[in-house]
Symmetry: C2
Subunit: 323 residues, 2 copies
């Protein structure tokens, strides 16, 4: 007997009965496509039926589950870390990219791109143990707030996506977050924010090493990436971590293109969703980072999700802090 | 709400009621230690209580779950692959290490050690897609038989360990296999043989790359290791895949030493088991590969499991082939 999935939440039937399937989704083509897909892969009488063991869905993180504008939440964390550590590094006040962080020069930082900001990644999250990193992330996440919305970053997750995760879990799917962001960064709030276990997060990873510290074995984070989980590396890391090809994938940018194709190329029935950020009023409107993937979505008939048209509400109602 | 584990099997209480907790274990110190540990970490009133989310147990594979003598099952697979592919490689009949494989010179192969046999690993399982590899492993596993026992390799798993896995699952543990063997090799029978999902296997991995083949994205296995999952790399890969430090670990050789220590160094209550192969009559007797870890087990008071004394039965009763 193979036991792969929790039955601890409400079932698909429970949700249907309570009218709770995707309540924050407008009753349009995207919601229809999702419900039709789930109905088919869970119906043993259907030719599109998929065994529970193979029901794996992958979700990009930034821009797919959580606001990524004007700055990725992980960079907000890194900027705060640099400010915290600056006392020990007097040279940072006159050295880039640190100077821009300390002066909060957002325009200059944005112009630098990811590559020039690499030193921030190394200085901000290397040279400490995974346990120290966990504490630093937890401290940041519990209080850090967004610059435009009056909310913590982790409350700026998309309510329709949280409902989609619950709906899929109720239909015996296993959900993995597959992010270009740091694997341990996201893990440190995945359980509280998304209800997903730490092991269901796949992301970019730093080099690490095992050390003895005060008689205990600990894992030390080192400068430099072990894996930068974007583009072609998303399918490779999905396979490494899950051993499978997903049957459902959700993304929003060109870095998700290979993951979406890899999912569609499954021999089983699959569903690919592409999130469009087209709601300047309630969230943000931008498309520069999704030129290729939008072309491919059109060519392949992938289901697009318009935040403006398909989301009844964007963010969860205010909720108490997670203990 | 966090849902991390299946409740699809019998519960701890079900097993107790039916007298089915570890029935193939002798009623000695090892069985007592296991049951006391599980009772404590699952008792909310105990100071040793551990949240279900943190109940992760890791098991080495070869020699811990399955017979590894006289040859690792994966090397049997590789030898067969070399023989299958030999027609396309006439030079192999006069080139080592291939010649030894083709002549079935087991003594010479054993003397070569793992390093000199590296070319077998590359030639036997690289240059094909993950899907082709999966088929090759499935074909081998379904028929390949052990040289001493009249049984398929995958039926030479330890019945007491299968029961331990079921008992832990019934107590809301998540079980990961953490092997020096190939991650995709073991995944291709983990569900049928151990009842563990593919994503709960951690192992050595080959380099891979993404390719387009007949219009489909596929993952190609390349020569060379991406990660050799032994020694210090076991804790690092456990952290990479699960994001956690386990609370229970089971191993049998020096390659497991760091994994066992990493588990014991958890801030939560932990249990470390070391399997002794001391039963020449029913299995094998050997200790050359566990000199250091046995010393450490003695120094740290880890629980040893004697196959001779603690296992009432070693192998499962004959069972029908898995379809």
């Amino acid at each position: 007997m193979l036991c792969v999935l929790s039955a601890c939440g409400p079932t698909d039937a429970d949700l249907r009965e309570r009218g709770e399937i995707l309540p924050s989704w407008e009753d349009g083509p995207a919601r229809h496509a999702i419900m039709e897909f789930v109905r088919t892969v869970t119906d043993p009488a259907s030719t599109g039926y998929v065994n529970p063991a193979d029901r794996v869905a992958v979700f990009d993180h930034d821009g797919t589950l959580i606001v990524e504008q004007p700055t990725l939440v992980q960079f907000e964390f890194l900027y705060q870390r640099i400010k915290t550590l600056a006392g020990d590094h007097p040279d940072w006040t006159t050295t880039q990219p640190f100077q821009a962080v300390l002066e909060d020069d957002r325009q200059l930082l944005a112009e630098m791109g990811y590559r020039k900001r690499g030193a921030i990644v190394a200085a901000g999250q290397a040279g400490i143990t995974q346990e120290e990193f966990r504490t630093a992330v937890a401290d940041f996440i519990s209080v850090a707030r967004h610059s435009r919305f009056d909310a913590r970053f982790v409350d700026l997750v998309y309510q329709p996506m949280l409902e989609l995760i619950r709906y899929l879990q109720a239909s015996d799917f296993r959900i993995f977050i597959v992010s270009g962001g740091g694997i341990e960064f996201i893990r440190n709030f995945a359980e509280d924010v998304y209800g997903l276990p730490r092991e269901n997060v796949i992301g970019s990873s730093m080099k690490t090493d095992l050390h003895e510290l005060d008689g205990r074995l600990v894992i030390l984070r080192k400068p430099g990436f072990s894996s930068l989980n974007a583009g072609r590396f998303k399918p490779l890391n999905i396979k490494l971590h899950t051993g499978r090809r997903p049957i459902m994938a959700v993304g929003n940018s060109d870095g998700d293109l290979e993951m979406l194709r890899f999912t569609e190329d499954n021999a089983m029935l699959s569903l690919v969703l592409l999130i469009h950020h087209d709601d300047q009023e309630r969230e943000f409107e931008y498309a520069d980072d999704s030129v290729q993937v939008r072309q491919m979505a059109q060519a392949r008939g992938w289901q697009t999700v318009s935040m403006r048209r398909d989301f009844k509400t964007v963010f969860p109602a205010p909720r108490p802090n997670v203990p």
